[in-house]
Structures are given as C-alpha cells and as structure tokens.
C-alpha cells in the first residue's frame, strides 16, 4: 500500500450489510446513514442522497454481474470517499444484465472540482471494475480486511 493512495481516497467498507429497504433511494439513504454514524464525515444526508438518486435516474449504475457503482457529489467533502458494501440480499437494480445487485461501490465525489489526482483514482477504480477477475475477487472476499486490500490495489 502506498501512502499517496491512502492519503488520496478514503474508503469505508461493510462486508455484510443488511438493508431494511429494497428501494434504491432508501438503500442510498441507509448507506449514507451508516457512513455518517461510523465516521467523522459530516455529510448533508439529504443533499448527497438526492444527488446519488438523481444520477441513478439518468441510467442504472448496475453494470452487471451483481455489481453497481452509484455515485453523487457532496459539497461537504474535499476528497472522494469510496464506500463498498456487500450484502447477501438480492437487490433489484434494473441492472444492464437485469441481474440483482449484491455488491455496491458508492462513490462520493467532491462537488467543487476536487483535485485531479483524486478523480483519476476513481476513474482507475471504475476501469478495473470491468475486469472479470477483479469482479470475482470482490465476490469471493468475505472480510473487511480482504476487501480493503482489494480496494487499495484497485485505487493504486
């Protein structure tokens, strides 16, 4: 792991999330609630949830094979936050391959055009997520530690 990366993008991981709702907007809300509860991030929950939902409404972020990459912008952060949650629930996401989603990579992006380096890290993550091997690795990973390792590799 290199320091520039851990300094670049924060990550929050829950390897076994249980969602109360099955409705996308509520799911976003539950994810944001947990992040705000468990970290020092002070996010305007309504703002970020609405922005993620707005993006989702443009076109589904479920890109196939059970993975989704919803994203939105927040004016309260200065560097991106990657939230990774896995669940054993099968969430309806209107995904491109019509399969339900159980792995969510939620990207929270600074509203002010953040530093290019950070955005580049996110685009690299997105790029690698299309790789079947990477998808399989994420699917197999069960612990927070393992998911963190994978994320660090992808953000590197």
């Amino acid at each position: 792991m290199n320091e520039a990366v851990s300094d670049g993008v924060d990550t929050y991981i829950n390897p076994s999330k249980r969602f109360k709702s099955t409705e996308k907007k509520e799911i976003f809300r539950e994810i944001i609630d947990e992040v705000v509860d468990q970290t020092a991030y002070k996010l305007d929950k309504d703002e970020i949830t609405a922005d993620i939902a707005k993006r989702e409404a443009l076109s589904t972020t479920g890109f196939g094979n059970g993975l989704a990459i919803p994203h939105g912008k927040s004016s309260q952060i200065h560097k991106p936050l990657v939230v990774l949650m896995k669940t054993d629930q099968a969430l309806e996401w209107e995904a491109l391959d019509e399969k339900p989603v159980s792995i969510i990579f939620l990207l929270i992006i600074p509203k002010e055009k953040g530093e290019t380096i950070h955005l580049k890290l996110l685009s690299r993550l997105s790029y690698h997520l299309m790789d079947k091997d990477v998808q399989d690795k994420v699917k197999k990973a069960e612990t927070k530690k393992r998911l963190k390792e994978i994320l660090n590799e992808l953000l590197n």
Partner: protein, 104 residues
C-alpha cells in the same frame, strides 16, 4: 480492424472509464486494434490523434453528453451509442460493426 473510440458520461468518473475498459477487452478478445479516448471529469485523456483517426476503420462514440473537439471526427465512419451500451455489450457491437464493414 483498427478501431478508434471515445467514451463520455454525465459525471465523467465511472461509466466513461468502464466503457473504455469494456471496449478494450472486447476488441482485444476479437483480435482488433483499439484506442479509446476518454472525455471525463479530468478532461480528455488518451486523445485520438489525426493519425489514429485516419488509420481507423471505424469510430465508436459511446457518449451521453456533448463531446469536445469533435472537428477531428469529421470524415470518418462513426457509430453513435449510449455509454451504457458499450458497458453492456461491446463484444456484440464490435462483431456487428465488423460484419457491416465486410458487407460494404
């Protein structure tokens, strides 16, 4: 085939780059050369040069937004698709293009 492509999406952080990878994977699997330019939140990357575009058999534009510097793309055969189509089925798209070009 030599393929040139441009990808772009609304936020310019996720789908632009997923489409790039999907197109690259599909082209490589089918034995084609490809170069994919991204027009994302960090600007134009892997920019297509005039030479790239002149040598390409086809230009795939996988975009949900208005692109920048499109003068470059004049005078070349193009296929326009939404960015999600590239993520969903680049392999099918490239096979179709090859078939069409062979028929001409």
């Amino acid at each position: 085939m030599k393929i040139a492509a441009v990808t772009a999406c609304a936020t310019g952080v996720a789908h632009t780059f997923m489409a790039k990878r999907a197109l690259e994977n599909a082209a490589e699997e089918q034995g084609h050369d490809i170069k994919v330019e991204t027009q994302g939140a960090t600007g134009i990357e892997d920019k297509l040069t005039n030479k790239d575009l002149q040598e390409a058999d086809i230009l795939i534009i996988a975009s949900d937004i208005k692109l920048a510097e499109t003068e470059r793309f004049q005078g070349i055969k193009k296929v326009n698709i939404p960015v999600s189509d590239a993520i969903k089925n680049s392999a099918g798209l490239i096979r179709q293009i090859e078939k069409k070009l062979n028929e001409e």
